[in-house]
Symmetry: D2
Subunit: 398 residues, 4 copies
């Protein structure tokens, strides 16, 4: 479906070559101060043309709020956000070979298999342009979460090709360098390392060089993004199918090019023993009364270690939530490729063309943050529906 | 939520200590031959007590179909499947310290935070017993898929702790040993390597020894499971949010103890260049006419390599779909653990007790298969809703 | 679908001839005192065999809670409620002509058209027995609403055939006799007029006589039921598609045999002028502080008249909500009927048989109440999701 | 929610005073020829300013398709349709008294109760302008239904105040004049009776005079609309909660000002005996082979009478579906009204102002048709999901 979320629900529309990329947000809480200026910064972080290592297309991507606000406040009614496509005409993305051959590892072929219709070159809904709507909607979710609960969501690049910010001999949840970064990193910190958005001077420089080298070699590379969510209330997640990590995984794997997701100890956690992996509880520092007023109580306990990645039994425990995503290398490369024809009548050569990022992870950062915000906002509203804070039982054992 | 799927929709109920673990399946296609005998084998593969390295609790887990069938055929109406809990009384899972301390890395604390109610020891809906309903529902989905499209779903253990069936220096999609296994492995093959279900004699023996050693050391270990889906039709998956890999990730991360998911080239794919990662198309062998009659056409093309893992642009392309899951070590270990009290009034020692698996991956195999079947069945019905096969356009370029 | 509601969500299963009629309730708020004794009374009011004018089948319809509670309190996890069918074998509901002819105005034919499978005689999911699950789930919803907001839901019979409790020359909202009854009537009052449940001695006697007469004439009759919901908080309903009256209409028309729904002034309201129909506002009596604590504020205003039926712009305004339902006469009559064969090869005579109510409205009363409770409970949770009471703006003009 | 439908799903946005009224349609079948010209005619039938008896505001209501089509064909991806609001500034709908008093029987008060935010005068999402999105989406659904199954949907005015096209002494399903009209009436016929759209010369004239009289008296009146759906396939509707009549009722009661819904025999059917009400089956005329190819078979049987209104057991039987709706009189009247202040501090006089229709039913006709089309399209896709036509059993008794 093109909708995400049960309560804070986002429905998107828009091909890369239609008039606009847009979304409707249903059930955004009323009375939130909101204008285009709250949304535009994340769109600017996503847009192409930010540096020499991203695609040279320079799209402005200006968002307009069509409905759902008045006098700078949300009404509780649906928000329509649109971002016009500057040049709507289906473009020539290559020579005519693109009409004869489905591009390898693109969605040309599977969209045709699914819908029985061949859309113009450029990729339609599988285009990265579709992610504009996610970023816009995520910015709204995030503003509400930040103002209501102080939630902070920060993503950053942790690898480009085989150049890695952290080693992967052990789980990220067991790496003191990662944990320290996770506790404090801000978006300003991340954007201090443009264009790559890897918060480490040396790694960032090496990554930038690698991307430039692949661009010149008409090739592309994959990479990874790590995301931290701080100050999410405890109690979020709707087991047994909508565990918080399950919905996060759903959200993240729906981002184009993502091939892997791990949370907390992740794949390396599968190599650990339980006696090391278990996170003992300790008392939490006291919680400000203001936060408790907002309907979801803050946890009295926290954990000493955080191999759980902030989620236990599918429910947030109040600790930082962190996860890592693998992005495959972009399928568009400026090299000739031998592949089969649409009609299966033989093979031939798809000519090189098109202007695309040799590596998507720097621009993926705000997309990951946006999807994370949508997941958390929806989970908060689901927990609100139970009206917790009113019916809360006393702690057992007290 | 406790529901999964939009059309082939499963809703589950049942704590480990209630009367039963159950599910209702809505919209199972009518006229499918179905009896308890179609469901029981997968429940038997999931149930505890299968060997010396699994938990010694011996539950029978007999399924009963309450509704939705008549004369051995589905009616199209909801199926209620129930599996009684043999001993319904809340048990003593430890000494009384379990009433004072939330168990580390269990869901005791987060369930209390979420619902404000402390359920009896044993873990309620976060218990592995909840997965019975998934396995039962999955067996129904799978039968329909197998009879209608010839879909085959096979999962198997690929690692226990740091003992791995395949190395992870490269992506599984680039490993000829894995690809060869993926093309042909059957459940009978997998069960030829009981109790571990790792289809390699030597690796399996070493894994079994490791699990036994940890059991004796009162510890536990994580592991990984890999799953292959063969003969899924092309065209499955509902972008842009319900891409097939996104829904698979959602399904898999909703399984207790799963901390990571990767599809196709996965995390190692993030280290590849695009020129290597792209999967060129080739003509597919011809498709039997019978399959084409069933409403979703088989693809005329296939890919030479399969770094995509059978999914491109969020839509299946007809190639084998494969993914790998990381399972954390079980949190229940027979060691004393120091942790905070429920009331945050201090720390103390949670006494060791309980009988649990030192490693869950052997029994997770049918759970993974079941969830995979639910995802594919729902995706097939969604694609049916468009009534493809009727409105299919002619191939472009022909 | 066999599910109803977004948050307080009920999924039902069970044919008249399977093992049980059951439902799973998702997201019932935790910590609600709940046992079978809270549910059984409404099932007893629904069950057949209550009097000489209802069907002589004597079913016990005992409900069991399988999951979701512990120590008499809800856990917040799914509740499975089951009511066994006492005699599970498909019965002979007539002579063999029932295998040749679809029964007129029954669902035999349309179920076959939809599912392609002919279920045993008796009607499967279209049987009135399916409504057991609605009544059971509704009783749970209602208990929560009553304890949390003091909501009262009372339905009663307002006509049998052309015998009417109130005339229909004018809208019920304009009838002082109705309005007075609506303000105060209780279920005990209604059950003081058994077996018909029409709260007026003379009308009730005449209705009973009419039903008895039709029973003896091997015929049946329709009737109407009116339902009042008192003390529902203001602010319920989710425009623009899930207006409260729209969801009530959905719920009510999903009850077997319902052919019409009108709310507030209803069909007669269509004959009024606006100057008469408009409901002026007046100040409301002051609201107890306790109610305000429960998360949805009580309205400071009420209306002088109530042609709106308690809902304006699709949202409850705090006034009593009332609506009326038309039930068609039962299709099962003990007369021979000439009709076409299943195979369309000719007409013939379907022999009279079966034991059924000559009029369903007395037993429909708890079904209507149950569905009303499900609608209101779900609407309350949806409004809770916005966490109103916290973000409430100051009244404009103040 | 602001979404309607499970598969053919429409999400709307837009207040009367925002930039646009818009909708996103998800899962519209691909390869449907579609342009603005397919949608505009129904918008033109809905728009104000069509005659002296409708509101003199002259809005152009031009629709634009932003996405989801290419080269005049649907792609299967989401369609965004927008209709700009010509004058976006919140207008003065009266003197300042509108800021002090919630308008009687408007949504001013309940929106404030629900969202805690007072939107500008004019009514926001409760405005009739919101229905533009329904009409636009309905026109798309309808085109698909007409081309695929030959479905015809025609609504018309059957009463204005107490002036009625048909008497209501008996059910419409028992009125030969209605049944004859229902079998053949077209939209061209209906529009032959502009401005009232009541297909009877004398009744239409009297209705027009009544509306003009009320307009001059600064008052308003209610009325009724009847809708016929011909050639809907049999097998539509998803019991037990999403029976076709239940979803139709939901759709219709979500239209502003609707207070009642009856289908088939409706409220008068509640006065009938079963022996008269039952609809005997007869063989249907043979069905064109082309229709059978389209995935849902046409019924071999039809009914002699049609008190069922084309739906039995919640499932369409292939006969014409017909229902009637009651619309209340518009709440906006150009008379002073005494009512309470927002702050409940006393009563006063809300001054008369604003330009509105004295009767909404003529313009409601395309809205009713649109919502009917959305219901049927979604039901067809749901039935497609079962892939009927492939698994159809042989007729029993053959």
């Amino acid at each position: 479906m093109s909708s995400f979320g049960h309560f804070f629900r986002v429905t998107t529309a828009g091909e890369s070559h239609g008039r606009s990329v847009s979304c409707i947000i249903e059930n955004c809480p009323p009375n939130l101060a909101l204008s285009e200026a709250d949304i535009q910064p994340q769109l600017d972080r996503r847009r192409p043309g930010q540096s020499a290592i991203t695609t040279p297309r320079n799209e402005k991507d200006q968002v307009t709020i069509h409905s759902g606000t008045e006098a700078g406040r949300t009404l509780g009614t649906p928000l329509l956000l649109t971002v016009p496509n500057e040049d709507q005409r289906p473009k020539d993305y290559g020579d005519q070979t693109i009409d004869l051959y489905p591009r390898p590892s693109h969605a040309d072929w599977t969209y045709l298999e699914k819908y029985g219709v061949k859309a113009s070159s450029g990729g339609g809904r599988s285009s990265a342009r579709e992610t504009i709507a996610r970023v816009a909607a995520g910015a709204v979710a995030e503003k509400w979460l930040r103002e209501t609960y102080g939630v902070e969501i920060v993503a950053f690049v942790t690898s480009v090709g085989d150049i890695k910010l952290f080693g992967d001999a052990d789980a990220m949840s067991a790496d003191p360098a990662f944990l320290s970064l996770a506790d404090s990193i801000t978006r300003a910190d991340v954007d201090g390392f443009l264009p790559v958005r890897c918060p480490h001077a040396d790694a960032s420089r090496r990554m930038e060089a690698r991307i430039a080298e692949l661009r010149d070699a008409h090739d592309s590379t994959g990479g990874s993004v790590t995301c931290v969510i701080r100050h999410a209330p405890s109690g979020l997640g709707e087991p047994c199918f909508d565990k918080l990590e399950a919905v996060l995984a759903h959200a993240m794997l729906s981002i184009p090019a993502v091939k892997g997701f791990e949370i907390g100890s992740g794949f390396r956690g599968a190599e650990m023993n339980g006696s090391r992996h278990n996170d003992p509880f300790v008392a939490a520092p006291s919680v400000p009364a203001a936060a408790a007023m907002l309907g979801i109580p803050r946890s009295r306990l926290q954990t000493k270690t955080n191999n759980s990645g902030g989620i236990q039994g599918g429910i947030s425990n109040g600790m930082p939530i962190f996860f890592r995503l693998a992005f495959k290398p972009p399928a568009t490369i400026s090299q000739d490729q031998t592949t089969a024809r649409y009609d299966a009548a033989g093979e031939g050569v798809l000519a090189a063309k098109g202007r695309h990022d040799p590596c998507v992870v720097p621009r993926a950062v705000p997309i990951v943050e946006g999807m994370a915000a949508l997941v958390i906002a929806d989970a908060v509203m689901a927990q609100h529906a139970r009206q917790m804070g009113i019916h809360m039982a006393k702690p057992p054992g007290s």
